[in-house]
Symmetry: C3
């Protein structure tokens, strides 16, 4: 048994910027070298989320629009009023989607579908330096 | 320590078909044979999700209706326009709910509530053969 | 390798009561004593969810309002009609957010952001005794 630990770092644009994590996580899984394992992928921060999606321009556009419709950037939000802040919407979107996914590693590879990528969604309303922790455990 | 790895396969109807995974995952946990562990349950594909719910006709109906209200099947979606596709809504629903849950195994059993089942939600707009990977790690 | 297993217990007020789990989970991680690991945090029950958020009054208020707008307490819900129940909304919210998060443990500590707390959301419409299972695996 072992834990193979790695950190992926990204400069994001915020405002819902979606970053494809798949290649980075796959490299960590390869370095871990175990044929059977799990890969826990988690973003640090309360305005950022991790999920999977087909990473293509249409889907990116649609998800962005849907989240704007469900939890709009503009609104009479207590987080903004109480903290003199502007990113309340980002906190809500991140909490609903959640910060982590854990993906099986089978025959040494992430058990994702052909059109399924691991992604980071940065909802904050400015550029951010983001940290994603990857733990491969077997 | 060990990883016990299994694959569950299902033929789904798509269109939000919800499949109860609990018995299948419980069998994998039993075969693993460890009293203390975690069970990672993840669906392959970008139009399918995993979560827990009380698997009963009322709740299935309500969740289906709520998701149709929040992310309708019909809409002017870029994924459909750009890829000559019809399942943009399925991609968005799957990304919001997410593809994986990891459930503790305590005293050899999944730590679920009495009325809490692990479920697969297949949002695609046609029948699909689906693969769920289960990794029990301890 | 080992699994360190613990149970956190809470009396909640229901009605969307959000409980900060961070200190409790951090204590379990410390007791586990492994510098590199993962911490799986999962709530038992089909009307309760686990995620992360900045645990502050504004954000708590906003998330509560957003969930009421997205999945209202009142509605013509089949779960309530068929089961003579009143908490259909709670089941839907819990299924959408999901019951578990798995957080890396790095250098002996939970890899959370400074303003990011692990939380339990109890959506049921009455007081509940809730159980959260924490498994630290390495």
């Amino acid at each position: 048994m072992a834990v193979h630990s790695a950190i992926l770092r990204f400069r994001t644009r915020g405002h819902g910027h979606i970053v494809d994590l798949t290649e980075g996580v796959a490299s960590v899984v390869e370095a871990a070298g175990s044929p059977q394992a799990i890969a826990c992928v988690a973003a640090r921060g309360s305005t950022v989320a991790v999920t999977t999606m087909e990473y293509e321009p249409g889907g990116i556009h649609d998800l962005t629009e849907a989240l704007e419709r469900l939890v709009p950037v503009e609104g009479d939000y207590a987080h903004n009023r109480l903290n003199h802040d502007t990113n309340a919407y980002a906190h809500m979107r991140a909490a609903i989607i959640g910060p982590s996914e854990t993906i099986p590693v089978v025959e040494g590879r992430l058990a994702l579908g052909t059109w399924q990528q691991l992604v980071l969604l940065d909802f904050d309303d400015r550029e951010r330096d983001r940290t994603v922790n990857v733990q491969v455990v077997w």
